[in-house]
């Protein structure tokens, strides 16, 4: 009896082992089966809410995880022409299934605004998502702050930015500086000092590691912009004295203009264009590409 059972156990183990071995050999020979492209079968949040039978919040979590995976996967993908097509529909589903999912609005707005290839570069969709958040919870000043921020940083529309900062400042619990920020933004538009203040505020208030890291990166980029300005001045002074821009950092070091080859705050060497004398961060730097600063942005003349 015990012998039979032992034989059965051995056969069972052998069969399972054989199944694993066959699967391994098949995967090695033919490659793993995987979906060719990501598909979102249901796009109606209302329909999903009904179909969830009172489990809409859990379904929202599932779609939220999918949105994160979609954004993260596409962001790190090396595929040329990669697309973030599902990002907004996924975030829209999440926030319809759970209209109080604060982080989906706030993270979603950051993801959507990120310029390509780091994100889809769609601040218009960020605004649509945040406005949906405002409709769901009008008493949340954070959404107004985020809306103001998107208008300020990505769209350089200081009038609209000030409008949202002002609207947010009128909500109970909003910080004192929002009202003065609204006035200053309206008065002087964007400058680096104000950008730094905004990112610092976001960094300090960040309740999540990802948000903190993103704000830290932006602050470091602003530091790099400060340093680039100084380097630019040195390169210009060199060109004024020698009649041509410096051909390399080594030349500036040799001639005593610099003590060493300058590195950006992320540790990568700055790039000097020998023809124009323009300084920038290296394409391999973690800080690349640097943002277009609100202050540096000029309205383009309208085409006739």
């Amino acid at each position: 009896m015990i012998g039979n059972r032992l034989v059965a156990c051995v056969v069972l183990a052998w069969l399972f082992g054989a199944a694993v071995a066959v699967a391994y050999v098949r995967d090695q020979a033919y490659g793993e089966t995987r979906a060719v492209e990501q598909v979102l079968y249901v796009r109606s949040g209302e329909a999903l809410t009904r179909a969830s039978l009172s489990n809409a919040a859990l379904l929202a979590d599932v779609y939220w995880i999918r949105a994160i995976q979609h954004y993260g996967g596409t962001r790190i993908s090396k595929e040329p022409g990669k697309r973030y097509d599902l990002l907004y529909p996924l975030l829209d589903l999440v926030t319809t299934l759970d209209p109080r999912f604060t982080i989906a609005y706030r993270f979603g707005a950051i993801f959507l605004s990120e310029p390509y290839p780091g994100g889809p570069g769609r601040p218009d969709l960020s605004i649509a998502l945040l406005e949906k958040g405002v409709r769901a919870e009008p008493a949340k000043w954070r959404y107004e702050e985020d809306l103001g921020f998107v208008y300020y940083w990505w769209l350089h529309d200081y009038g609209k930015a000030a409008q949202h900062f002002e609207r947010g400042s009128r909500i109970a619990g909003a910080p004192w500086w929002m009202r003065s920020l609204a006035a200053a933004t309206l008065g002087t538009g964007g400058d680096r000092r104000r950008s730094r203040f905004l990112w610092q505020e976001l960094y300090q208030a960040a309740d999540n590691e990802w948000l903190k890291n993103n704000a830290r990166l932006r602050l470091t980029q602003l530091d790099a912009l400060d340093e680039i300005e100084q380097l630019q001045r040195i390169a210009q002074a060199f060109a004024a004295r020698n009649g041509a821009p410096p051909s390399s950092w080594a030349m500036l070091v040799r001639t005593g203009w610099l003590r060493a080859e300058p590195l950006d705050p992320a540790g990568a060497p700055y790039v000097l264009n020998p023809e124009t004398g323009r300084v920038n961060v290296s394409a391999s730097s973690k800080l690349h590409p640097l943002p277009i600063e609100p202050g540096a942005w000029m309205p383009q003349p309208q085409k006739q």
């Binding site: 009904r50 489990n55 979590d61 939220w64 309740d207 999540n208």
Partner: protein
């Protein structure tokens, strides 16, 4: 009362013998596994997701217990022919039905209590051993007693579903009873659509019929306060009391219907 207690206890023992409590192990594994995996899959909101998952799992596990045990409560006795021996004893048919019902309710109560404790335990483990960022930016405290309110309403909803399963069990086969109970459960979540049917049709007769159906069918959607609790939203005590009262009254009506049907059954 003594008879009711004896029948109820017997149903509970039977469910333990049938390894129903194994679902608790599955629940614990699900939550512990999820609490580890979620940290890898998402960016923040781990606590919210665990609360959502825990509450939904409590509802789904409870639903399966209520339906799959509920539909067999009477049918099993008839199939095994033990009903003949039972009814010769000093037990009325009403006592038989109510006793069976209370037994399953006890099973559900024990299950829900253990699952609630497991949910709090997993939340505690995440708080004490997880990174500090897990507990920041929460809409509601980690050990929010409001979770118990959500679980209490799930229990009342399951008590109603159990009564429906038991009702079908008094005259139908388990397969059909399960189908009917699940159908009513699904319909119970769409009641609001029936109430507002006039927005899709013009016919006053159709509107009248759907409005009648809205009041006749069990309205299960109001028992769902999971999202509100997880987001720390205030709940009106009047709303909670009215929902519980609705559940109790509807359950009593279904149980009465079950006893009426069962009383008329001929076991000769």
């Amino acid at each position: 009362m003594k008879v009711l207690g004896a029948i109820a206890l017997n149903v509970f023992r039977e469910s333990v013998r049938d390894k129903v409590l194994y679902n608790l192990v599955l629940f614990a594994v699900l939550l512990i596994g999820a609490s580890y995996l979620i940290g890898q899959l998402t960016a923040g909101q781990d606590m919210k997701i665990i609360k959502d998952l825990g509450l939904s799992a409590i509802g789904v596990f409870g639903l399966f217990i209520a339906v799959f045990i509920g539909i067999g409560l009477v049918w099993k006795e008839v199939e095994r022919r033990s009903i003949y021996a039972l009814l010769t004893k000093p037990i009325t048919r009403v006592e038989f039905i109510v006793g069976k019902y209370l037994g399953l309710l006890l099973t559900l109560l024990v299950n829900l209590a253990v699952m609630a404790a497991a949910l709090y335990a997993v939340l505690g483990l995440m708080t004490w051993f997880g990174p500090a960022s897990l507990t920041s930016a929460l809409d509601a405290p980690v050990f929010d007693p409001g979770l118990l309110l959500a679980i209490a309403l799930i229990f009342v909803q399951l008590a109603l579903v159990t009564a429906i399963a038991l009702f079908f069990s008094t005259f139908s086969t388990p397969m059909l009873s399960a189908a009917f109970t699940f159908a009513l459960y699904v319909a119970g979540h769409f009641s609001a659509d029936l109430k507002h049917f006039e927005s899709v049709v013009d016919s006053p007769v159709a509107v009248y019929l759907t409005r009648t159906l809205y009041y006749l069918l069990p309205n299960l959607a109001p028992f769902d306060i999971k999202a509100l609790v997880v987001h720390g939203q205030p709940l009106a005590p009047g709303y909670l009391a009215a929902t519980v009262l609705y559940g109790v009254v509807y359950t009593a009506a279904v149980l009465l219907a079950a006893t009426l049907v069962f009383a008329r059954r001929d076991f000769k």
